[in-house]
Symmetry: C2
């Protein structure tokens, strides 16, 4: 079960290993949005995204026997590098399942942390099944990208740190992909400040959590097309949805153009780099519909100069 | 005369008005350079560059009579916006002389702070003479971009804040344009830590300070061609050179490709945006010739997505 105690415990575990990322403010942003906004900048986290928190919390809790054999996960994104680095820091080995069309730069970055990469066909392979099979065959421990209590608890430390700096907020805005970041952050928010509004952000085409919340059950959508690849999930996680169903008050959808505008605002006004998924919550804020003191989680900044250039042309 | 007391006084004056910018570290950067580097990120300063410190320190010291009449300066760059904002905050008016071919976006940004803009022909007009003439005619107080004790003292607060966080350093690396930032920072560095090496960075084509240090007198060079427009000075300031001549140990030159590589490193690895002049000291660090604990001043981050894209193609 995910509770505040689990997240406090994760906070102790990642202390001195994960970065305590800065909370940014901007008078221009406040003027443009009519809010007082506090941006938790996880693009400055190790491996460039919040994912390191959950991966390290999970892997650092493994038994000596589990660490001796190693871990496995599936991800083409930030979770891959997070697991690779966390495994390295814990002195164990990581096997990462990636679609075979993953950009070489991402594979190289993951290999750079010492991980072994195995590829599969994105269209015919079932990554969850492949991961379980590999775990069974080699005796590896699976560290899933979001649907795991220790992963969710690790991601919740984002909100813990944010509130430590800001005190109570009227609204907390968190991007939702699989829902692990939201599950952790919402748990912190509603426990510490029960009257806070917790708002999730999804790309317009990847609104599986919005639809699931409406139907009160997990809904699967077709493979979403969005520039926010970190949030292109087809269905919410089982464990994450159980939490988010209870705690999330509303969903804001943002389209690709709004995400691009937010990336530009971050670049030109805030002087920071956000990847598309890292900019969706800022895009939601820039819609101008929120008021009061608003916490906004910027989830990551992993984007090459070339992709940034292509997206913002 | 510029001394530590003047800079401590400036520090009190800008407290709560200027931002205390973060000091960034990066294990990747340390590994790549063989140093322990501390990056003072003035791209997060108000108006996006260190210039606000000096402008505010100077303008906030004007008499009531001077404030009633207003200030004037010449700049097409960050000093223009710095003076405009500082004047607004002090309840006075600013007239800014800009070359008539200054990009509209920069003029708009400066006007946005309530300043009046007058233009001149970059090739036939003498901006210093025009500034003095305007000051005399209208009774305005001139706030020059670097050659002024209060401006230099304000810029020195960058180093003061850096050392407060890092303690003693082996080397301090500071970009040099007119030399105001260096004069202030070198004064702090050599007063607090007499054995520190203070290194200036200039674009290869804009090495007026390097040549002047070698000749032991101010040398004028042809109009420099460099992407680091904030450092394209033809001759060091009179007051700044008097300080830097005493305190600067060495100059490192960087070419445009090295500046581009540093901008890319900042974007992809540090997740921050630096304008070309803001990246020259990082470019110097990335040459790999420095060792030990190194402080590096990143001076600014004012660049549009379009110019960034064009420069890094």
């Amino acid at each position: 079960m995910l509770d505040l105690e689990a997240i406090n415990s994760a906070s102790k575990r990642i202390d001195g290993v994960a970065r305590r990322t800065p909370v940014l403010t901007s008078s221009t942003l406040d003027r443009n949005t009519g809010t007082t906004a506090f941006l938790k900048a996880e693009n400055f986290q190790r491996v460039g995204a919040f994912k390191f928190r959950g991966a390290y919390n999970a892997i650092s809790r493994l038994t000596r026997a589990q660490l001796a054999t190693g871990v496995v996960t599936y991800s083409s994104g930030n979770h891959a590098q997070a697991v690779a680095l966390a495994a390295k820091l814990m002195g164990t080995t990581a096997v990462i399942l990636m679609p075979e069309d993953t950009p070489a730069s991402k594979m190289d970055a993951t290999r750079g942390y010492g991980a072994e990469i195995l590829t599969y066909d994105r269209y015919t392979g079932d990554r969850v099944a492949l991961g379980s099979q590999l775990a069974a065959e080699r005796g590896l421990t699976l560290v899933p990208p979001y649907d795991h209590p220790h992963v969710m608890a690790g991601q919740g430390t984002v909100a813990l740190e944010l509130f430590e700096e800001t005190g109570p907020l009227d609204t907390l805005v968190v991007p939702i992909g699989g829902g692990g970041l939201m599950a952790g952050c919402a748990t912190v928010a509603k426990n510490l400040h029960p009257s806070i509004r917790v708002i999730g952000v999804e790309p317009e085409q990847a609104n599986d959590t919005q639809l699931s919340l409406r139907k009160n059950e997990r809904v699967r959508i077709p493979v979403p097309h969005t520039i926010a690849d970190g949030q292109a999930t087809e269905i919410p996680g089982e464990l994450t949805f159980a939490v988010n169903q209870r705690l999330v008050d509303d969903i804001i959808l943002v389209d690709d153009d709004e995400i691009r505008d937010a990336m530009r605002f971050a670049f030109e006004r805030l002087k920071i780099v956000l990847e598309p998924s890292g900019a969706t919550s800022l895009a939601a804020l820039l819609k101008g519909t929120l008021t009061g003191r608003v916490g906004v989680v910027l989830s990551g900044g992993n984007i090459s100069v070339e992709r940034f250039r292509d997206l913002l042309t």
